[in-house]
Amino acid sequence: MRKRMIALFMMAFLVVGTLAGCTGGGSGDEGKKDDKANVENEAGDANEGDVGAGKLTVWCWDPTFNINAMNAAAEIYKKDHPQFELEVTEISSGDIIQKLATSTSAGNTADVLPDVILFDDSLVAQEVVSYPDVFMDLTDSGIDFSQFSEGKVACSVVDGKNYGVPFDSGAAIAAYRTDILEDAGFTIDDFTDVTWSEWIKKAKVVKEKTGKALINGQSSYNQVTVMLKSCGGSFFDEDGNLDIAGNEKIKRICELYLEMLEAGVYQEEVGWDTYIGNINNGNVAGAMNGCWIMSSIQAADNQSGLWAITNVPSVDGVDDATNYSSQGGSTWTITTECENPKLAIDFFNSTFAGSEELYDNILPSGAIATWIPAGGSEAYSQEVEFYGNQPVYSMIVEYTSKIPICMTNAYEASARQAVCTAISNVAFSGADLDEELVAAEETVSFEMER
């Protein structure tokens, strides 16, 4: 019995000892928490006199792009509000979603969530619908949403309410290697304001003369989105009901995509690195994606002057077809845990929704504004040598302003994936397109009911 007691004592002693040793770090963190509370209290006191005094905490990713933009905004805001502080925590997009899910499930969002969170445009509506109490309604906040591209603003509108401040443009561009086009007897103008049917005909010529596919993509996921958004299409109707199986636009887009694939003018890649690799290597003659793809294209600096951009083809045979679309881009949201919402709104009003200087400063990082007034600045009209001296930034701002408004839905990503699966089944297993689209609708419907 004595031995057992000793054994138990040994275990208890060592466990307690180990934990006590570890609490040192915890205590340090407690200290940090106290400091944070003090800063916030001080900020609160200061706020009585100056709305711009205080601290904002932000979650976002990519130090060269989003974090750089946020820090640049803080620098501008600090000029008039020297007591302003900004703390950016770098968290990847996927980790933000996971932390949001766990903290809301645990019911302790107050301890975890920051004041501002950045989301990919395709996820904003989904997150707002999933966690309606987490995000602040900005509709009557004083932020002038009419100065942003309509299509971009629509990404963060749920039930008629604005939940986000639009940030970078995801305007779709078609970028081509002009030297390869020249070898096939074409110029960039031959691919401007064209329909997909015309594009496929010309792409076949490029393939025949140079042996290269005109563009590539990582599955059909992004490409289908670009095509669908260009004609204001959606996987859902105005009431939020699924609209895949009988949707003429989706069917037409699938047919065009399958035609491109069959003709070998569109090359499907197995992963992101091969997608970028084949663009940089010149194994394909171009790229079609959100304008953020330019940073990857420009990584091959030995190809300076060999590239040019233009708008995307329009989907022929459907209503509302345009040559403008979007893919990607991101939006800032303010959480309901923000202790100083006035400060957050004033910050965004003075920067992302009101400062040409900010957008000029962050332009070299590749962040292109969706705030229309920014497009008129000198920085945006500069000619870029890499793209044969085209004024690419002002071109993209113009494209951004013409993107059609599309219906968004919390199950957008699931619907996209289901349609991609349908396309793969038709392309590689010889399945019937109509049947596959019905199956896709059933898959998403099951997920929505669950």
Binding site: M11, C22, S92, T102, S105, D273
Partner: protein, 273 residues
């Protein structure tokens, strides 16, 4: 004739082993080569060493606090490893030396928990830690890793090879139970401790999901968290990424090779005579 057959057989075996070894070691060599190349070279499939390692390091240190993340990872891994092998060795020793039917059943129950994946316990664990106010703290990060069933099992199994006569002799000489554990058991079971430390260090070093969930501060970032952040930008700099992967891999390699001999002995349950 037999000698010739022997040498041919041995040669074939060696060739097969070399081929399989190359398959195993290729990813590491590729990371090493990629860390010296530009992003464009890497995605183009270049497989020869380049001259971009310094530029990659400059980019890495410019955009990320690689030293801070390395220090955090070393700190957390070291504390986790020491705490885990002390706690688990005591538990394993206790289960074996003072064993009875109830403890055996308790051990069986513990073994069952090995079947439950971490993702299933993650949310309740997070909720508990949130209520205890342990979010964003070192203690919160370390606690779930301090006691692992696998390490308890390893120490329990290896305790079976520890000669009971030594315990009896020590008790007759008037040694306390605590003294027997620290003065007799620990020095004798060095190999098991080395094996346990190697496994625990690698697990703690590579721990990502729990670290990501519980830690929110930039200053608390570990290397796996930093590497994950590098893959979500508009433009992925593969050269910088591979250098970060290399920096993250080296310490675990060093620990493994330093303790390799003891690791093998420890896993096979050998007692150093």
């Amino acid at each position: 004739m037999n000698k010739t057959k022997f040498w041919i057989g041995r040669g074939i075996k060696n060739v097969i082993l070399v081929i399989f070894s190359l398959f195993c070691v290729f990813p590491l060599i590729w990371v090493l080569i990629a860390a010296t190349n530009t992003s464009v070279d890497i995605v183009s499939g270049v497989l020869v060493p380049g001259k971009n390692i310094v530029a990659n390091f400059q980019t890495l240190s410019e955009h990320y606090d690689v030293f801070g993340a390395s220090w955090n990872t070393i700190k957390y891994s070291a504390v986790c490893t020491v705490a885990a092998i002390v706690v688990c060795s005591i538990a394993g020793y206790g289960f074996e030396i003072y064993h009875d039917k109830v403890k055996d059943k308790l051990f069986g129950l513990l073994m069952l928990t090995m079947m439950i994946p971490f993702v299933a316990t993650m949310l309740p664990l997070y909720q508990s830690y949130a209520k205890l106010g342990l979010l964003n703290s070192t203690l919160g990060f370390i606690l779930p890793q301090v006691s692992t069933v696998f390490l308890i099992m390893l120490f329990r199994q290896n305790s079976r090879t520890f000669p009971k006569d030594i315990i009896e002799a020590a008790r007759i000489d008037g040694e306390t139970e605590l003294g027997i554990f620290f003065k007799m058991f620990m020095p004798t079971m060095k190999a098991t401790y080395a094996a346990g430390a190697t496994i625990m260090f690698m697990n703690a070093w590579n721990n990502y999901m729990w670290a990501r969930l519980i830690m929110s501060d930039n200053s608390a970032q570990t290397l796996p968290m930093m590497i994950s952040n590098m893959t979500t930008g508009h433009y992925i700099d593969y050269g910088m990424l591979m250098l970060a992967v290399l920096i993250s891999t080296l310490p675990t390699l060093i620990v493994f090779f330093a303790l390799q001999k003891s690791f093998v002995q420890g896993m096979t349950g050998a007692v150093k005579g």
